[in-house]
């Protein structure tokens, strides 16, 4: 097809209209104006194409040219993604920094992946092998912990007619060739994939493995599964970003894709500063070595914000197709929805609820559906997963707004952040009465097999205790705590222990920030044992004030900060001490 060159006829912020564009397709990428700004076609009407521009349109003039590339918005996939940081349309920010300095100028062109760098390629398939999409033909050590599998693109199938020898190649060098029905296809390490199209899979499984995050309130009370979806809604200051950072740091996924969508610049800087220093608890390598960052901060062009979540999920799917467990964090999906609203407003579309476009729900659903634990396309029946965790920033902290509501209809885990808890510095401020997880049954198998047989029972007992506490609090508000019978006061004290020292966890304490599964289980077991002992003692007429002033209560409260290497030993002696102290109180009473 010949080149399509149109001209600008209208400019309104990030949306422009161009004439003479007949022949272009929806969502084709175009280059706009003399500065070659990047844009995407979002509406066609005879010769007129409406285009959202991914860069600032200041100074753009009607009459300047628009050239269609005839290709949809795509990302580059290949070695070099890990440890990199990209903007919403996958331009590498460090490279842009070198090109244009501290501020992001317009019309910058930079390849997402370094074309000159040589990677050491090791073939794992040989000539004559039959291959399908997602079959592995070789490996590249991408970072100290990530072995980048070079896979056959999903739409290629045939017989390998050649495979490169082990050695150093750039991503544009030919490394293999496949004879297909349609002819010979050359494969490079560099591949492309349109961002708005989900990469195909053979089959979707139900998620059943727990994604361990090291966060007690999540892992124990509201777990998420590998391949699951979760939403974190909360007003400002409730700790959404810290929560997502915690998940990005400590989740036991192998690859993390972190999308900063319309949020603060300093937060991305924080990630950039911290991740290369922090150590992954499993591999003891810097966290950055398994992370891809997408940063489209709130002051970067709004149309690229819309693209950023798609860019992120496509990269996540690519690593999934190698057989990895990938976790994607999107902070915040509300900003993405607002970008949709802004563009939709400029298109003068009929607005739905609160000015959001009518297709908001379907876009959100489409996005979250790209998560999942799947059987990969390849001939080896391998598995991979993409878990998606999205922050939602509801205006005024009111969860009844469209983005939160439409998200909750799709996701399986709901971590409700609560401004009242945040005000009391109860962090993570996940409200235990409002939150839920539909993966509880699925993941309990794993916990019971590997950690403790009575895991689910313990968890449910603790939950019931907290529920009971909230009921009692209603009464306390009316009559004061002293008016309660001793048993109920004992319950309140037990619940307080769980609430203040189990649910709360400091993201900034070097030990408490990550709590291994076994330690979580043991902590909860001890706290419930404390609860049982209180009831036993109260039943023998020991005064509640005497019980709560025992020394081991304070030690129990500080269990979160006991170093992970020595907790088993220390917990054992604590358990003994606690029993002794309460037993002696009971004895004193009986005599």
């Amino acid at each position: 097809m010949s080149e399509i060159v149109g001209k600008i006829v209208r400019i309104s912020g990030p949306v422009i209209e161009a004439d003479d564009m007949r022949g272009s397709k929806m969502y084709d990428v175009v280059r706009v104006g003399d500065e070659n700004l990047i844009g995407e076609i979002i509406r066609l009407n005879e010769d007129i194409a409406t285009i959202q521009v991914y860069e600032d349109t200041n100074g753009l003039k009607p009459g300047e040219k628009v050239i269609s590339t005839l290709e949809p918005l795509s990302v580059e996939l290949g070695p070099g993604l890990i440890t990199n940081i990209y903007d919403g349309i996958q331009r590498p920010l460090p490279a842009i920094n070198k090109q244009t300095g501290d501020f992001i100028a317009r019309g910058v062109e930079a390849h997402a992946l370094d074309r000159k760098k040589k990677w050491h390629f090791k073939p794992t398939a040989k000539r004559g092998d039959k291959v399908k999409g997602c079959d592995i033909i070789g490996e590249v050590q991408e970072s100290t912990i990530i072995l980048h599998k070079i896979i056959v693109p999903p739409d290629v199938q045939g017989v390998l007619s050649s495979v490169g020898k082990e050695g150093d190649y750039t991503i544009e060098d030919d490394i293999a060739a496949v004879t297909t029905d349609k002819g010979n296809v050359k494969l490079k390490m560099l591949q492309r994939w349109p961002v708005r199209k989900a990469r195909p899979v053979a089959e979707k499984y139900d998620p059943s493995l727990a994604l361990i995050t090291g966060q007690r309130v999540i892992d124990t009370f509201f777990p998420v599964a590998k391949g699951g979806t979760a939403a974190i809604p909360g007003g400002f200051g409730t700790g959404k970003t810290v929560m997502l950072h915690q998940l990005a740091k400590w989740s036991d996924a192998q690859i993390i894709v972190y999308v900063g969508c319309g949020e603060r610049g300093n937060e991305m800087t924080d990630v950039l500063r911290e991740f290369p220093v922090l150590e992954d608890p499993i591999t003891h390598e810097p966290l950055m070595n398994r992370t891809v960052l997408i940063a489209n901060t709130s002051n970067m062009p709004v149309a690229a914000r819309d693209a950023s979540v798609y860019t992120g999920i496509t990269i996540a799917e690519y690593y999934r197709d190698m057989g990895y467990d990938v976790a994607l964090m999107a902070d915040s999906t509300s900003r993405w929805a607002e970008a949709m609203r802004e563009i939709s407003g400029r298109l003068e579309e009929m607005p739905g609820e609160e000015g959001y476009p009518a297709y908001l729900a379907s876009r959100l659903a489409e996005f979250y559906e790209r998560a999942g634990r799947v059987k990969l396309l390849g001939s080896k029946n391998k598995e991979g997963s993409v878990s998606v965790m999205g922050a939602v920033s509801p205006p005024g902290g009111d969860f009844s707004e469209p983005v939160a509501q439409n998200t909750l209809r799709i996701v399986k885990v709901f971590w409700a952040l609560d401004a009242d808890l945040a005000d009391k510095r109860h962090f993570p401020s996940i409200n235990w009465l409002k939150s839920y997880s539909l993966y509880l049954e699925e993941v309990s198998d794993w916990w019971e097999k590997t950690v403790g047989k009575d895991w689910l029972k313990l968890r449910n007992r603790a939950m019931a205790l907290l529920q009971k506490e909230s009921e009692l609090q209603e009464i306390v508000k009316l009559v004061g705590p002293d008016a309660l019978p001793p048993r109920e006061r004992g319950l309140l004290e037990s619940a307080r222990m769980v609430r203040e020292n189990y649910l709360q966890q400091s993201a900034f304490h070097e030990v408490d920030t990550y709590c291994p599964g076994k330690k979580q289980y043991e902590m909860l077991r001890l706290m419930l044992k404390f609860s049982d002992k209180i009831q036993e003692a109260v039943g023998k007429n020991v005064h509640i004030d005497d019980i709560i002033s025992i020394k081991s209560r304070e030690t129990l409260a500080r269990t979160g900060t006991v170093p992970n290497e020595e907790f088993e030993k220390r917990f054992k002696s604590l358990e003994q001490e606690m029993e002794n102290e309460i037993n002696s109180l009971i004895k004193g009473r009986v005599k």
Binding site: G59, K61, G101, G237, T297, G396, D423, F508
Partner: protein
């Protein structure tokens, strides 16, 4: 004839702050327009929407007196720019960048687009230098650091201006003498309020290092849209080209947002929440995100935007969207003000997101983080108990609870309350904190490391 000399008299429509010019050629989006009214008065505008032969222009000084017959428009061929120079320090400018202080115009070193470009997240330096404001509630509990944007959420009739002036007056980084400037941007405030700042700056000698951009309540609304952009362009120049540490005070952002809504309504855009445009978040972010530090540069921009929450409602779109962008917030409360507590900072909803990295050993003091968390938790508990006492009376409380109740009262009286000219050092703030905490049972101080309790907790006083 050059393009920029063509005068179009083809104004076809004037509506609210907007004007439509037909039959134009070769115009650019966001280009500046010089408008001449039929009386020969000159005004400035900017293209909001550009067509091949038509331009929608927003007029900065208001559309009063414009007509569709004699009014003429000239397109000057560039977007809105501000001439910047080191001589701007100590001067006062209006909403279009002209001097207001009867002194000659500045000779710019450079002309810069007022919209600026976003700072590359890779180029940012994470803010972590403690700024001592001398105000306990800020320094102790919501520490401000260099390069942060920390807004003050206030209500009509609360002393936010006094507080901002106090911060501007007392703010310093300990142990360092560095080039320092204040950029003061007033959007739609009364001349009385503006005078308060000017006088305060005069009295303390700060005026010489202050750049003022003024758009007072009776100046055209529409200029409020560009005023913070000009102020921030100036601040960026001072900070990143001239190595100064710049404190930008933006007041009042509520007026800014109102102006934004006015233009959106005039353009008949689909409104978002409460009539504010759907892009208000992005628009506010374009201003707020221009704070920060850059790797390898000496200077910094610290922002203190101020806004009045309509009806003291923190969920109103203006404070709400601001809180989502800024790195925390300082919230003023009417109840405390009525109790004659100055500054009336409602501690619980306040937050400084960058605090954790700016405090601690070698920055403030090793016990700072723990003390701050403990004060928060104890005060929150005390406040909860106040509600309880209102129902069941103080007698129904346990001893422990009574101590917390007392703590909350003492905390407001001794920690929150201080004089408008009282400049407390961080040590003083922490000393007061420990004195207050000593009123609680030691076993309740769970948020503080045991070693610090031993080191800093004052010995229990004998009861008389």
């Amino acid at each position: 004839m050059k393009r920029k000399d063509i005068e179009y008299t083809t104004v076809s429509e004037v509506a609210g702050p907007l004007m439509i010019v037909e039959g134009v050629k070769d115009i650019a989006f966001n280009e500046v327009v010089k408008i001449k009214t039929s009386f020969g008065e000159e005004r400035t505008g900017q293209i909001l929407e550009a067509f091949e032969d038509k331009a929608v222009v927003q007029v900065f000084e208001g559309t009063r007196g414009l007509d569709t017959k004699n009014t003429s428009a000239r397109f000057i061929g560039e977007t809105m720019k501000l001439g910047v120079s080191k001589d701007m320090v100590g001067r006062v400018f209006d909403g279009t960048g002209n001097p207001l202080d009867n002194a000659p115009p500045i000779i710019p070193d450079e002309r810069r687009d007022i919209n600026g470009d976003p700072i590359n997240p890779c180029a940012r330096e994470y803010p972590r230098e403690f700024i001592q404001t001398g105000i306990s509630t800020i320094d102790g509990l919501n520490t401000l650091v260099r390069g942060q944007k920390l807004p003050i959420f206030s209500g009509s009739g609360l002393p936010h201006n006094e507080l901002a002036a106090q911060v501007a007056r007392q703010a310093k980084v300990l142990g360092k003498e560095e080039k320092f400037a204040v950029v003061f941007c007033a959007m739609g405030i009364t001349s009385e309020e503006a005078n308060l700042f000017i006088k305060d700056f005069e009295n303390t000698g700060a005026l010489e290092r202050t750049v003022m951009f003024l758009n007072l309540a009776d100046d055209p609304t529409i200029e409020r849209i560009i005023l913070p952009r000009m102020a921030l362009t100036c601040a960026e120049y001072l900070a990143f080209d001239l190595d100064m540490h710049v404190l930008v005070v933006l007041t009042d952002m509520t007026n800014y947002a109102e102006a934004l809504r006015e233009i959106a309504a005039a353009r008949e855009e689909v409104p978002g929440r409460r009539g504010y445009p759907g892009y208000m978040y992005t628009d506010l972010a374009m201003n707020y995100e221009r704070a920060g530090r850059i790797k390898g540069k000496k200077g910094s921009i610290t922002q203190i935007p101020m806004l009045t929450m309509p009806d003291d409602d923190i969920t109103h779109p203006i404070p709400d969207l601001t809180g989502y962008i800024t790195e925390g917030q300082i919230v003023l409360e009417r109840g405390l003000h009525k109790k004659s507590i100055y500054p009336p900072i409602a501690v619980l909803p306040c937050l400084s997101r960058l605090m954790d990295r700016g405090i601690g050993k070698d920055k403030t003091r090793e016990d700072h983080a723990g003390v701050s968390n403990q004060l928060y938790a104890a005060y929150a508990e005390g406040c909860d108990l106040r509600d309880l006492v209102a129902i069941v009376g103080e007698d129904a409380l346990s001893d422990r609870d009574r101590k917390f109740l007392q703590f909350a009262d003492e905390f407001e009286k001794r920690f929150v309350s201080q004089g408008p000219h009282e400049d407390r050092s961080i040590e003083q703030t922490l000393t007061i904190s420990w004195e207050l905490l000593s009123g609680l049972p030691v076993s309740e101080l769970k948020k503080i490391d045991e070693t610090y309790i031993k080191k800093y907790l004052p010995p229990v006083k004998e009861e008389k």
